[in-house]
């Protein structure tokens, strides 16, 4: 259930319809792929086959529900944990795996750590690591769309910790002042690495921060794909109608470690995790589908099986794709190669083993 507040006037809304049963089944399938891919990536990292991974288990409903409520023209500004967003948007799994490996198929040309992908044709902006920087950018893109009179929204994704960033403050404030059609989708997964939500900020909720900018603020159960879908649809509606931006706090939990470099046992209790796992969005959605007679256990097993096969194929393909040409290192610093970089490039080439020379 979504609580929408604007300025000092809290307003409780009764949930209108969420996803249709058909949509829910499709959404569930995406959530399954998401979970299966996430699990595989953790394994690949442990086996040294990819260098790093930041899992998102527990956040599937939030990401899938949110993206489901958008139009494909809407621009997405992800952080580094938005696998579910990418999948709903249609980014092919092989492309993602190419990025994780940084091979010749990687459209980012091996420039970034795993997770930090982005694809212009999907209006899915390339993520960076410094937290929050995407937030002001999403507002700028929204202002640009507004200027060009394109009736779209921009959606920016970030975590609870990132509400402390400079760009959160500047972005929300600009969006308020300029009525930018931006949805600020905060996945409060309760942790910023080792810092719990309560130590990140003393505000009652994260959504209440909307009041500081005179924009809409919504708290939503991020384990409930319907609730998220509804909240985002409403926010989108308001935004394109010129009613301004919305800050949505989707309350979720990070089931896994912050990243493969992290050991959550150092700072959090298993019992808390167990409590939240009872609300696992995948189990919950599956349960609903089964109860509604839209899914059987056998079909479910099949879904998982298909997902895993699909992923295995993509991994195989990605691992067989040739490595990057080292000379690409000098592309894209500027639109064209300045003489100085040409020299660097030549120098590097002189150190390459003969087989790598053209």
């Amino acid at each position: 259930m979504a609580t929408a507040v604007r300025d000092a006037r809290p307003k409780v809304e009764n949930p209108p319809g969420g996803l249709t049963p058909d949509e829910l089944l499709r959404a569930y399938r995406t959530m399954v792929i998401c979970r299966a891919l996430d699990e595989r990536c953790l394994t690949l990292q442990r086996q040294g086959r990819i260098g790093f991974y930041a899992p998102m288990q527990g956040q599937e409903a939030a990401q899938v529900g949110c993206t489901w409520a958008l139009q494909s023209e809407d621009w997405l500004f992800p952080a580094y944990r938005e696998l579910g967003v990418a999948l709903v948007r249609g980014v092919p799994i092989p492309l993602i795996l190419d990025q994780f490996i940084g091979n010749q198929g990687d459209e980012l040309k091996g420039r970034q750590m795993p997770n930090h992908y982005g694809y212009r044709r999907f209006r899915f902006v390339t993520a960076s690591s410094p937290v929050g920087t995407q937030i002001t950018q999403a507002v700028g893109t929204a202002m640009a769309a507004q200027y060009r009179k394109e009736p779209i929204v921009t959606v920016t994704f970030f975590g609870d910790g990132t509400t402390s960033s400079n760009d959160f403050h500047a972005g929300l404030n600009f969006a308020g002042v300029f009525s930018a059609p931006t949805i600020f989708f905060c996945q409060n997964n309760q942790w910023a690495i080792s810092l719990p939500r309560e130590r990140q900020t003393r505000s009652e909720t994260l959504a209440v921060k909307a009041k500081a900018y005179g924009v809409w603020g919504v708290v939503v159960d991020g384990m409930d794909v319907h609730a998220v879908y509804r909240a985002v649809r409403e926010a989108r509606q308001r935004a394109v109608e010129g009613q301004g931006p919305t800050l949505i706090e989707a309350q979720v939990y990070r089931f896994g470690p912050h990243s493969t470099s992290d050991d959550p046992k150092r700072y959090r209790s298993e019992s808390d995790l167990a409590l939240w796992k009872e609300r696992d969005p995948i189990a919950r959605t599956k349960h609903e589908l089964i109860a509604a007679g839209r899914l059987t256990e056998a079909q479910d097993l099949q879904l998982w099986e298909t997902a895993r096969q699909q992923i295995t194929q993509a991994v195989d393909k990605a691992e067989k794709t040739p490595a990057l040409d080292p000379r690409t290192m000098f592309d894209d610093v500027f639109a064209s190669l300045p003489p100085q970089l040409q020299r660097d490039r030549d120098e590097l080439a002189s150190f390459l083993p003969p087989e790598a020379k053209p």
């Binding site: 459209e107 960076s128 999403a138 200027y147 500027f334 639109a335």
Partner: protein, 325 residues
């Protein structure tokens, strides 16, 4: 041709770009109704409206972040940072984002933003209205850095910057915003990026400089002429990409380089020029590579006239150089 001050030439450049291309959008603090604290955007709000000349809240983080978002979308934003000294709250957006967008996305997201900002001392601005921060940006791969020294260059380089495809930091020497006037071509006048100008030819010494130091170099050169020392002045105009050829050609001719800038010396832009000479022109050098720069202190208020490189300090360096080797 019209006789303009440097700041008027900036204004005309912005006007020209905006008239031609509706994608050119300005944003910044006090640039709209107020016309900018230096009046660089005077009249543009009236001409092009609040949609294209956007008065923003007081946040450089927001200004540059929003400008980047606009550029990703396909507009050509030209944000203003009111004083270069106040660019630091936007440093993360500039260094982590603007400089790296094209690269990190494998070329998918070019990010063409032209950041205008007045820089430098000489206006009694003290520590926070006088800095010359060009070295930070010149060191950041992915950014172009441009500094004009004349009204015609101000307009021509600004228009080239706006029509470039890469992010450009366009720093305007506020000390000579009004003290320097000159003929400026009307219309879409362009001065190409990456080309230095020989603003004075000479044979004995090469002064490598830019921005507000060009008039200082010129004054020194005049006096030195009286002493029969022939000074060549190279105005770099574009710090990144540097016109290395022009620099090397001049120093190979004179053998005596003097590097001149108002930023502090240590790790300043002049260090790179010296390093290039020490690598590529070593055998042409008749004298040590000398730098005349601001001192390695924060920028002072009461003593700024002694902090800034003066013609006297340039002349002394030239004399030292002439005596060497």
């Amino acid at each position: 041709m019209t006789e303009l001050t440097l700041v008027q030439a900036v204004n005309r450049g912005l006007f020209e770009a905006m008239k031609k291309d509706p994608d050119v959008i300005l944003l910044g603090e006090d640039i709209g109704v107020n016309g900018g604290v230096f009046r660089a955007t005077e009249g543009l709000h009236k001409e092009f409206g609040a949609e294209r000349v956007i008065d923003t809240p007081l946040s450089e983080t927001g200004i540059i972040g929003a400008a980047i978002g606009m550029a990703l979308y396909g507009l050509k934003p030209v944000p203003e940072i009111q004083f270069q000294d106040f660019i630091y709250p936007a440093f993360d957006q500039i260094v982590s984002e603007l400089a790296k967008y094209r690269y990190r996305s494998g070329g998918q997201y070019p990010c063409h933003v032209v950041i205008r900002s007045p820089y430098g001392g000489g206006v009694k601005g003290g520590l926070y209205h006088s800095q010359s921060a060009e070295a930070y940006f010149a060191h950041t791969a992915g950014l172009k850095v441009v500094i004009p020294s004349s009204p015609a260059d101000a307009k021509g380089l600004l228009l080239s910057s706006i029509h470039d495809e890469d992010p450009v930091l366009f720093f305007e020497p506020k000390r000579i915003y009004r003290s320097v006037t000159g003929e400026v071509p009307d219309g879409d006048h362009r001065v190409p990026l990456g080309q230095a100008a020989t603003v004075r030819e000479g044979t004995d010494v090469s002064i490598l400089a830019y921005g507000a130091m060009i008039p200082v170099a010129a004054l020194a050169a005049e006096k030195l002429q009286e002493q029969n020392i022939s000074v060549e002045i190279i105005d770099l105009r574009t710090l990144v990409p540097l016109d290395e050829k022009a620099v090397l050609a001049s120093v190979e001719k004179t053998g005596r380089p003097i590097i001149l800038h108002e930023a502090p010396r240590f790790c300043g832009y002049g260090a790179e020029l010296a390093a290039i000479l020490a690598e590529k022109a070593l055998y042409s050098l008749k004298s040590p590579v000398l730098r005349v720069t601001g001192y390695d202190t924060p920028f002072p208020y009461a003593l700024e006239h002694l902090y800034l490189p003066s013609p006297e300090r340039v002349i002394a360096a030239v004399h030292t150089s002439m005596k060497s080797g």
